[in-house]
């Protein structure tokens, strides 16, 4: 039988089968590959088996009944416990790459040691059930978790980077596997966090351009308040549903500006208050309840504080994003229910960042103590310098660990530039940078 006849008979046998064209293309490819190896068409056809038999196998694929049914049950059980799975990852990064990765299965209460395998050409791959990371010396990085490809770096995009260093060049990384966990931000969320530059821009802040009025019916909001900081040791910023951006100002005063566009008729209900009492300064933006789900509002509370402040700052927004850039403060507590949080170039004594559903990013920042918590968002931590004790957790998001330094809350300083981190996620996946 020649190739043409084989393919024709196969095609007849596959009529009505979903994806038949793809199957046929693959078998044609098989003939081509065989021919390239010097086999005759008749030989290849004979080795493939009767085309009708092959078509039957495709039609009934999945019928290897006993082992199949069992596995599906197991698969379903595995899916049920996946939300409870915990992964603890200890990273040690030195000149020679050494990675020990441990997966802790709470449900079975046993810790399975990961299989570590260093292949030729400097390719390192780590494999554990449900977690797979492989790094090639040509900068190819692929990571899978829970059956989903979470990271796939194309060789040439990460060119010049080697080993795990490829992960440093996040901007070069193509997060092609984006469906992650419950959060549809998934890795694209992390991705957008990673591309922040200059003034921390994220979410609505990113696309917001002050002074641009969208549509003729829209109203512009521009409210300003300022206050001296003498005698102030606590600052509170509340913005309801607006985004909050905090950055260094020109002098020793605190300035707040509520800026944005809203639907016609909504502007008059929006207020910005500044109050001082008992050593506390409060800037509070109030936004009236929206009627219906189709109201448009783009508001940002821009706050300027002295670059170095002895105050402790506390920030609260319901649906907005929060970004703080290039400031030093004793204590920071930022919270958003649904928004993202980002800090960049910050120096803090103590910081606590919380979001119920948003992503949290810490970039080029240092401090004594950091606690980051998200209910369902992705986390990205990059700390400068040594000595910051940090703790990060996300209920269902992804956690990206710091590359530079950091210590797990319960482990001591390693002192040799190596990193030891412990990360936990409820149902999401974990990315490591080292």
């Amino acid at each position: 039988m020649n190739k043409r006849e084989y393919i024709e008979r196969l095609a007849r046998g596959l009529s009505g089968v979903k994806g038949a064209e793809e199957i046929i293309a693959e078998i044609e490819g098989h003939f081509a590959d065989g021919a390239a190896k010097g086999r005759s068409e008749a030989e290849i056809a004979a080795a493939l088996g009767e085309p009708e038999a092959l078509a039957r196998e495709y039609r009934s694929s999945g019928k290897f009944a006993a082992s199949d049914g069992q596995r599906q049950e197991e698969g379903a059980a595995g899916g049920g416990t996946s939300s409870r799975r915990r992964k603890a990852i200890y990273i040690s990064a030195g000149a020679a790459l050494a990675i020990v990765l441990a997966v802790v299965g709470i449900s079975v209460g046993i810790r399975q040691a990961a299989e570590r395998k260093a292949e030729e050409d400097g390719i390192v791959s780590i494999r554990t059930p449900g977690f797979h990371l492989s790094v090639g010396n040509e900068g190819r990085v692929r990571m899978e978790a829970g059956g989903t490809t979470v990271l796939d770096v194309d060789g040439h995009k990460a060119k010049g980077l080697s080993g795990l260093e490829a992960l440093y060049g996040l901007e070069d990384i193509d997060f092609s596997g984006k469906s992650m966990g419950d959060s549809d931000l998934g890795l694209s969320g992390l991705d957008s966090l990673c591309s922040l530059d200059g003034l921390a821009r994220m979410g609505d802040v990113y696309s917001f351009e002050p002074g641009v009025v969208v549509g003729s019916a829209d109203e512009q909001v521009d409210l300003r308040k300022e206050a001296p900081l003498a005698g102030i040791d606590r600052i509170y910023l509340g913005a309801d549903a607006a985004d909050i951006v905090v950055r260094p100002g020109q002098d020793g005063r605190a300035r707040a500006r509520l800026l944005g566009v809203v639907d016609q008729g909504l502007a008059k209900g929006i207020t910005l208050d500044a109050t001082v009492s008992g050593g506390e300064l409060r800037f509070e933006a109030r936004v009236p309840r929206m009627h219906g789900g189709d109201s448009n509002m783009r508001l940002v509370l821009l706050v300027e504080l002295p670059a170095g402040s002895k105050s402790s700052v506390s920030i609260d927004t319901t649906a907005g994003d929060v970004a703080l850039v290039n400031l030093a403060m004793v204590k920071l507590h930022a919270r958003s229910s649904a928004g993202d949080l980002a800090i960049q170039g910050m120096d803090f004594g103590e910081a606590r960042l919380e979001s119920t559903a948003g992503d949290i990013m810490v970039k080029a920042s240092k401090g004594g103590k950091l606690e980051v918590q998200s209910g369902a968002g992705d986390l990205l931590l990059e700390l400068d310098g040594q000595g910051c004790s940090w703790k990060a957790s996300s209920g269902a998001g992804d956690v990206l660990a710091p590359g530079s330094s950091g210590e797990g809350p319960s482990s001591g300083s390693t002192g040799d530039g190596s990193l030891r981190a412990e990360l936990r996620t409820g149902a999401g996946d974990i990315l490591i940078r080292s």
């Binding site: 693959e26 196998e57 059956g147």
Partner: protein
């Protein structure tokens, strides 16, 4: 050899090969044939089922001359199934060996 038995073993072989690196169809068939006598065709429907089950996924890559090749790549879930199956397989083979060795 029992056909169902052989198919189960084939699945394990395919997953084990893919756990090491990505393969395109012909290459995989070639690698399998080195050790196991199979109908070459049966590998393809198996790959399709593995893909449907989420144990492998595929991507296209340019080949020198000719159309791009479909490569198979094991997923995290595939790896975990592969681990399970090989543990079962080893236990089974050991048990058979014990029985065969037994002198009554």
């Amino acid at each position: 050899m029992n056909i169902q038995f052989k198919k189960g073993a084939l699945e394990l072989c395919v997953l084990s090969l893919l756990a090491k690196r990505d393969y395109y169809g012909y290459e995989l068939v070639d690698a399998l044939e080195e050790g196991v006598d199979i109908a070459e065709g049966s590998v393809y429907p198996l790959l399709r089922r593995l893909k449907e089950d989420g144990l492998v996924d595929t991507y296209l890559q340019e080949s020198s001359g000719g159309p791009p090749r479909k490569y198979y790549r094991i997923t995290g879930q595939g790896l975990s199934v592969c681990h399970e199956l090989s543990a079962e397989w080893k236990a089974f083979v050991a048990a058979v060996a014990r029985i065969m060795e037994e002198k009554t």
